[in-house]
């Protein structure tokens, strides 16, 4: 069975999707067969395939992993409408639900479908990289991101925490996240990746060392701001295939330059 690497963020939009795409390309280039898996329930944009729809992010992550999207990459998700959600199972819309209805009537089947799909991927690939959304503390408390919670509980998957530093408050968001987790849950977090840093790393380093002391986890690297990458835009502005390829290469290089990937590798073995 393939290994599973979970990626969660300090908040929604912290950059887990982009980090997952970067990891997909990096591990593919390193010679592994890799599949992305969308565990994040809420989707803003989706993308049509012959089997139906999947989330926009998973479409790009599949490209980064050099594979054709299949229904298993994103077996269930909710597309937000004005006051309700469209529930998609295996690429097809099955119901229009409120959050309450989803949690009470549709959650068990959703979990079953997600588990089956993830198992299928693990049988076919060396590594599955899970886009888990964020924030893990709030998700647990509110029982949101039920697929992510389920994977963490059942598989004890090693987890990377993506911490968004763009508008500041990164140290607090990491500190608060750890404060909300139980010891067993903290144990699965392998390390922290700081995302969207614009500035001089030398100014940040003393703070990162303090943070490592405070939460007893390593900061595995600091990524810059990749606003030019198509993952940052909506599908309407889909860049040409050549540009997308260049973007995945850029992300993979950035990951290799900035992040302690040998440590990530150790987490998986």
């Amino acid at each position: 069975m393939g290994a599973v690497l979970m990626v969660e963020g300090t908040s929604q939009g912290a950059g887990t999707s982009l980090v997952c795409a970067a990891l997909c390309r990096y591990f593919r280039q390193a010679g592994y067969s890799v599949a992305p898996f969308g565990a994040k329930m809420l989707v803003k944009n989706m993308w049509a395939q012959d089997f139906g729809f999947l989330g926009w992010e998973q479409f790009l992550q599949a490209e980064a992993a050099c594979l054709n999207p299949t229904v298993n990459l994103h077996p269930v998700f909710l597309l937000q409408k004005n006051h309700s959600y469209d529930l998609y199972w295996q690429g097809k819309i099955v119901a229009q639900v409120t959050w309450h209805e989803f949690q009470h009537a549709f959650a068990p089947k959703t979990l079953a479908l997600a588990r089956e799909a993830l198992e299928a991927l693990r049988r076919s690939y060396d590594l599955v990289i899970v886009d888990g959304g964020g924030n893990p503390g709030e998700n647990k408390l509110l029982q949101q991101e039920i697929i992510t919670l389920d994977i963490k509980e059942k598989l004890k998957a090693p987890t990377l925490l993506v911490a968004d530093i763009e508008w500041g408050g990164m140290f607090a968001s990491v500190m608060g996240t750890f404060a909300l987790l139980a010891e067993a849950e903290k144990a699965h977090i392998g390390g922290i990746i700081v995302n969207r840093f614009r500035g001089r790393q030398e100014n940040l380093l003393p703070g990162l060392e303090m943070l490592e002391e405070l939460v007893q986890k390593p900061v595995l690297g600091v990524l810059g701001y990749y606003h030019q990458v198509p993952l940052a835009t909506a599908p309407a502005q889909l860049a040409a295939h050549k540009e997308r390829e260049a973007a995945y290469q850029l992300l993979s290089s950035a990951l290799q330059e900035q992040v302690d990937l040998s440590f990530v590798m150790q987490l998986l073995t």
Partner: protein
């Protein structure tokens, strides 16, 4: 040097878990709310980094936020309301503006390392003292997050200003991105005890209306910090105030200016109505050492 001003005005400070959580907007609303309640109110932001500036009547340059907040408070903006303005002028270069006047231009790396801390604190203390003499309430806005552990000594804008003013602090978290609890709790945990002692409570901004979610997060936050959540402000998309453009405004004819002013006056009232409704105002007055409104409260804008 009068390091600790003799306090005349009541003060309240708005800090945030990060930039862009809505501190400025909330401080603007507070200025209008207290003004409507019959208090002579002034805004204050000790240190500001911004390219958007506002020209005061005497030709000084301050952050656009304080200019708007002064408008919301129905007073003329003065340079004391934002005595330190750091304005990026070119890549890697900032202009330091002290009390509205250019003080110097320096390399950002130089600015980050220079030791002018005492001078800056003195400027802040003097400006604050003046506002506290002139007004009955001073609404203070912080900058960024007060818990940047790599910058805690340099950060004059947040807790150092709060200590100078002896201001109770409300910490604002962004509810919309599933990180408000981690952000507020983490900020609390990273603050040293003397700073924590100034915290009066939390506010959530960009609240999506999910009451059950709010109750659960507030319960955990209060249990962990022993501090109350004093309100959740909904998304106020329609109430975004026009970016103040001084040059454009000068080009307008007199009646157009008057029209624009009247319109932004209504915007401030709408904003104040929405924020006042969302907050526990009696508790906020209590933190400030005041009994409550001097006049009957709104809503000022009838829908």
């Amino acid at each position: 040097m009068e390091r600790f001003p003799k306090k005349q005005a009541a003060v309240i400070m708005i800090q945030g878990t990060a930039s862009h959580v809505g501190k400025s907007m909330i401080a603007t609303a507070f200025c209008r709310i207290f003004t409507r309640h019959g208090y002579r109110t002034a805004p204050f932001k000790s240190w500001n980094m911004s390219v958007n500036t506002y020209l005061t009547a005497d030709g000084g340059e301050i952050g656009v936020g304080q200019g708007q907040q002064a408008e919301a408070a129905r007073i003329k903006a003065t340079v004391e309301m934002n005595p330190l303005l750091i304005k990026p002028v070119a890549p890697g270069q900032v202009q330091v503006i002290v009390r509205g006047r250019p003080y110097k231009s320096v390399d950002t790396a130089v600015y980050a390392k220079e030791k002018q801390h005492d001078f800056y604190l003195q400027v802040i203390a003097e400006s604050l003292a003046r506002l506290c003499w002139e007004y009955e309430i001073v609404v203070i806005e912080g900058a960024g997050s007060p818990a940047e552990i790599n910058l805690q000594e340099q950060d004059v804008a947040n807790m150092q200003t709060a200590h100078l003013a002896k201001a109770p602090v409300l910490l604002v978290g962004d509810f919309s991105r599933n990180g408000a609890l981690a952000g507020t709790l983490g900020t609390y945990l990273l603050l040293p005890p003397k700073d924590r002692a100034l915290l009066g409570g939390f506010l959530f901004n960009k609240f999506d209306g999910e009451e059950a979610k709010l109750q659960l997060l507030a319960k955990v936050l209060t249990a962990e910090t022993k501090l109350p959540v004093l309100g959740a402000i909904p998304y106020l998309k329609d109430l975004t105030l026009a970016e103040e453009d001084v040059a454009k405004e000068k080009a307008l004819r007199g009646e157009e200016v008057a029209e624009k002013k009247a319109d932004s006056g209504r915007q401030y009232d709408l904003l104040a109505d929405a924020v006042e409704k969302a907050l526990e105002m009696p508790q906020i007055y209590h933190l400030m050492g005041l009994a409550g409104p001097r006049k009957e409260s709104g809503p000022w804008v009838q829908s």
